[in-house]
Each structure stands twice: as C-alpha cells, then as structure tokens.
Amino acid sequence: MKSINTPVKAWNSIGARTFSGLVLAGAAAGMIAAGPASAKVDGDTIILGSAISLTGKYSSNGIDTQNGYDLAVKKINEMGGVKVGGKSYKLKIQYYDDESTPARTAQLLERLIEQDGVQYILGPYSSATTIAAAPVTEKYQVPMIEAEGASRALFNKGYKYLFAVLSTSEQYLASAVGLAAEIAEKNGKNPADVRVAMVFENDAFSLDVRAGVVEDMKKFGMKTVIDDKMPADLSDISATLTKVKALKPDLLVISGHNKGAVTAARQMQELQVQVPMVAMTHCEGAKIVQQFGAAADGYLCPTQWAETLSYSDGYFGSAADYDKLFKSTFEGYSNVPYQAAQASAAVIVWKEAFEAANAFETDKVRDAIAATDTETFYGPIKFSEAGNNLAKPMVLRQIQGGEYKVVAPSKYASDSLVWPREAMY
C-alpha cells in the first residue's frame, strides 16, 4: 500500500503547487490584460465591441455583418468622427470570433466587458447568438445595439440595454395586411370585408409571423377564412389550397421557410390558385423565381431592406448609394445583403447616441439610444420600450416579370403594385 501511495502523494503535492502557480500567473496575466476601465474610450478613439460569427455555420452572414460595421466606421471616421464635448473621436471596433456558438458569444462578451473594458456593444449575427448575448449585456448594464436578431423572444423579457435596428419577425407579413386594406379602400370596399387565408409552419418563427398578421388583421377587423398549419414535412398543402380555391379569399399569407415557400409555389401553380394577393416569406431564399418563373409573378415577399428603397441619410446618401459604395469597397458582392445594411445602421445609431448624450457614461448613452428618432439609408429608427425598432416597416417586394420590385409601404415604393396578381399558369 505504502509503495503505491507515496508517489501519488508526491505527484499530488507537485500538481497542487503547479496548479496554484498557474492560477497566480493567470490572475496576474488577467490583471494585466484587463487594463483600465477607461478602455471604452482610448485617447481620441471610442471602442465598440462585438463577438461575431467569423467562422462556423453563420460565418457568411457574420462576415457580411462585419463588413457592414466596418464600412460605417470608415465612413463616420472619414466624415470627422463622433463629436462629444466639443472634441472629435474616431470609432474603432474590437472583434472576437464567436464561432457561431451562442455559449461562446456570451463568454466573449463577458471578456469584452470585464477584461477589455468595452462598454458599447454591437450585436452578434443571428437570433440564437443574440439571445445568448442579451443577458450578459443586461447583467453588466452595457448597451447593445444589435442588427441581426429578429426573434420576438428578445423583446418580451424586459431588457433595458438591448436595442435592435431591424424589424422583428412578427412584422414580416404585417405590411401585406396593410396593403390589402389600402387596396380595399381604393376599390371602395371596407377593409373589414377583406377575407384572409393563412397557412403557416408550426414553428417559432412562422408563428411569430402569424401573430403579427393576426394583430394587424384585428386593427382592420378583417375576417379569417382559413387558418391552417403546414404538415410536419411541409411537402403537401394541396388540401388547404383546394379550400383556398373554393373560398376565394382576398389575401393569402404563407410562411414556412424555404421549404414551405417551394411547396406552396409548386402547388399553387399546379392547382392554378387565383387569389388577387399572395404574400409569402423566403421567396428569395427558396429561389422561387428561378424555379417557377412566371407562375411566381405577383407574389409579395418581405425583406428588411432593398437598394431600390427611397430611404436616405447624411452618411451614405440613398440606399442605392450605399449599395454602390459597399460593392466598390468589398469584393465579390453582386447583391448587397440586407444584413450588411442593417449592421451599418447600428453603427450610425451609436454615433448619433454619443453625440446626443454628449457624454460617455453608459447610462447617459443608453438613454440617448432609447430616445433615438432618426432617418437612415436603411430606414427610420425609433425604439419601443422593449428595444425593437418600430419605425422601420418591413418592405414588401412584388415579383414582377421575374424581378423583385418594392411596392410597399407606398411611401418608399419604387414600383406600383400589380393588383390583382397576374400569374401565368
């Protein structure tokens, strides 16, 4: 027994000593790395922090987001930076790669706030990582302006330091309801007489979309004639479409990610469904135009932003100007993703909030963000109590001759709506 125990004890004591040494060294290194709490403003540079998906499953959209952040920082710095207390400050972003993992996002934000002293956060990419990030920024009472988390789950927890420039998921198809009401009025009909058929996937995103549609329908007193959920594999909704043909609703709304969109487009073509207004999510992602050609004409498809919109600001000019600048700054983009545009808009909000607060104290800046009421190339931004942007409507594009044309809201439309829809079956 003794011969066995002795070496173990010896090893343990060495191990314990080594371990305590490592802890001390780690603590010392941590103290050095932590730096001063004033790292949020370093000389004439304001440091923003972001844990973003530069690798992993969200990396392509993560890089789009990073490019959007960087372009706005470059532009603002070129225009003289941020003016606080009569002095000009440059913006700089400290990035960490969250590897598309929500847990890592939370860890890296702790590091940014605790060790690096960053007090101003730009959101990560995706709802999943933003959901992980929000409790951290809330814990440290550090404001986060996010551009890529649309889930409603982010805005019903009472967070005070979370602000989102994009439209949340319940707004995806709500503008289709408004458009249907507008058309009804134009045709001398009461919007309350508009009959709506709804087909949604039974998942969190689509049910969020449905909730938005239902809320807006209530405002106008519209009637629901069909309220079906898609079958689990989203492969056959022909029975529902048969009901649609018989009941002839004025508006058909569909949401089921890319798979649901393909199924709906295929079966509407086959059953020759003639509803005057059809709105569905994920048209672009599902490549509806490429797959179904003229049969997809007239679909209304929601998007967060488009370069044809009539939004503009003093930083980038119009949405089309932003589109041009982005393409000339970053190689390999034939279309500018809306993820990049909303990322740039988030940086603009930071800039304006610093100037409005005329201070760097996080609480003052947080209150200035909360009071934001501005127009940008990405759209108007005004936050609700919950922190989501209520001012920017989701944009509806209609497929016209195989191209996506912005038709709603009317104020920003580049083309007029084709009503009733003229599909070529």
Binding site: V199, N202, D227, D228, K229, M230, P231, A232, D233, L234, S235, D236, I237, S238, A239, T240, T242, K243, K245, A246, L247, N258, K259, V262, T263, R266, Q269, E270, L271, Q272, Q274, A286, K287, Q291, Y425
Partner: protein, 300 residues
C-alpha cells in the same frame, strides 16, 4: 371543421378534387409500400431506409434533369442505378443482419437511412428541389377542380410499374424463387434455390421501385435530403394495415390512405394530414386485435 364539411356539401365538385389528388398521391405511396412488403415478407427485414431510397431516386431524377434528361425518361436509368445501389447495400450490410434479431436489422437499416440522408445533404445541400415535368394543368367545373397532367401520368406509371412487378413475380423464374423463399427459405434452399441471390435481388428490386417512386415524387411534390421519414412511415402504415403478403391489400390501402390524407387535410386542417395514417393504423390494429380475440374464443 363543420364549416369545411359544409363547404364540401355546398360545392360537391371539391370532392372530386380531393378524391383525384388522394388517388394520385396514393398510387405513389403504393410503390414504396409494395417494395417494403416485398423485403419484409421475403427477408423479414423492416427497412427503415425506405423513404430515403425514395428521396434518393428523386435526387437522381433532378440531377439527370440538369443534363436535359426529362424526369420521366430518367425512370429506367434511376431504376437501374437504384437496383445496383440496393444490391451493393445488401452485400455490404443487409446480408450480415438478415439472420439476426429484429433489433439488429432495425438498427442497421436506420443507420443506412442516416448515411443516405447525410450523403444527399453533402452532395446536393439542404435546399428543397423539384424536377420540372413541363406539363400543365386542366381546370374543370369553372376552375374548382384542377387536374395536373403530371399527376395523371405518374398515376398511370406507378400503377403500370406495380403491375409489371406483380407479373414478374408471378411468371418469371426469379419471381417464383422469391415467392418460394418467402414461403420457406430452408425448403427453397434444399430445392436448389440460391436464397442468398434471391435476397440480394429482392432488396435491390425494392430499392429500384423506391427510386422510381422518388422520380414521381420529385415531379409532383418536393424533395429534400431529410424528407424520407414521412415516406417510410406511410409505407409501414400501409403494409401493416394491409397485412403482410396481401398485395391487393397494399394497393387498396395505399390509394385509400392518399384519399384519407386529402380529406383530413381539408376538413381538420393541413396539420392533421400526416396524423391521419397513424390514427388509421391504430384503428386497424385495434380492430384486428378484436377479430383475433373472437377467433381465439371460437378455437377454444
């Protein structure tokens, strides 16, 4: 629910639409179920990869269509490819589990299903695909009923294919050998039948039939690497409800299931469409149980 029933009464033409759609898709269910009945009946292997073979066939048809081959023209090619694939899977995996317990063969075929799903995902990505037939639809009863040409064509093709396989089983030497093996593999072996070859042929034939069903699915529905499961479930429901070895039963049950799904989707809502086969299966099993209990009482 009652509103939808009223709708059917108000517009009886809708019944025609639901009936036709049900029969058209039911015919495709029959193909996959027929293949399963074959493998289950002859080899006693419950092939959980049935739906994945269907989707695989669909992807081959879609892939061939990108080379300009019409999906219908690709049926014989896909049939041949899937036959060879089925034979290879038999040699690599199935022959080692055929004499083992039920759990082993279920695990093995479940593994095949997962590998096929992931391989398709790797090769074609997770996007939903459709193979375009280029056929049009015809509107009847003032547009209330629409009949898609492709559905008629696929109905005829699937019934024709099922008939061809039945004829093959009844008249050819291999068909007779398969039936003999299904009845008593030991006796068949003693009589000089190469049962190992019969098993390989049966499994390959099942994969080929599923592949052909997949071509039709890709033309009238949508395909995606992970869409095999509903096809597997339907095949199991049809074979279980019809009874093993009951080929006319498989055909009638498959067609009936297609119609039942369409009606339940219409009346109860699309979300209940896929619950219907399982509810019907439960009812059939309960009914069978009652029948058997009665039979036992008579024997006593």
């Amino acid at each position: 629910m009652f509103d939808n029933l009223d709708l059917l009464a108000l517009a009886p033409a809708l019944n025609i639409q639901l009936l036709l759609d049900g029969l058209f898709v039911g015919a495709i269910f029959v193909l996959a179920a027929y293949g399963l009945a074959l493998v289950w009946g002859v080899m006693n292997v419950k092939n959980l990869a049935q739906g994945e073979f269907v989707i695989m066939g669909g992807y081959f048809a879609w892939h061939l269509s990108t080379f300009g081959i019409h999906p219908i023209a690709s049926i014989p090619i896909v049939f041949a490819i899937m036959f060879a694939f089925g034979w290879a899977v038999y040699l690599a995996i199935i022959r080692y589990v055929i004499s083992r317990d039920l759990f082993t063969s279920l695990l093995a075929t479940f593994g095949i299903a997962l590998v096929v799903q992931q391989a398709l995902n790797l090769a074609y990505g997770p996007e939903v695909r459709t193979a375009e037939s280029g056929f049009t639809s015809h509107a009847l009863f003032g547009g209330l009923v629409t009949v898609a040409e492709i559905k008629i064509v696929s109905f005829v093709l699937s019934i024709g294919l099922a008939a061809a396989v039945i004829t093959f089983m009844k008249t050819s030497r291999m068909g007779q050998a398969i039936r003999a093996t299904a009845q008593d593999p030991r006796a068949a072996k003693i009589m000089g039948i190469d049962t190992e070859r019969v098993y390989a042929f049966t499994y390959a034939l099942n994969a080929a039939i599923c592949g052909a069903a997949g071509v039709l699915v890709s033309m009238i529905w949508v395909i995606q690497p992970f869409y095999g499961i509903p096809h597997s479930i339907r095949a199991f429901v049809i074979v279980t409800a019809a009874g093993l070895g009951n080929i006319p039963g498989v055909i009638v049950t498959g067609l009936g299931l297609g119609v039942a799904e369409q009606y339940s989707g219409f009346v109860l809502g699309a979300e209940f469409q896929q619950a219907t086969p399982l509810i019907l299966l439960l009812l059939v099993l309960i009914w069978r149980q009652v029948q058997m209990a009665r039979h036992r009482q008579v024997v006593q």
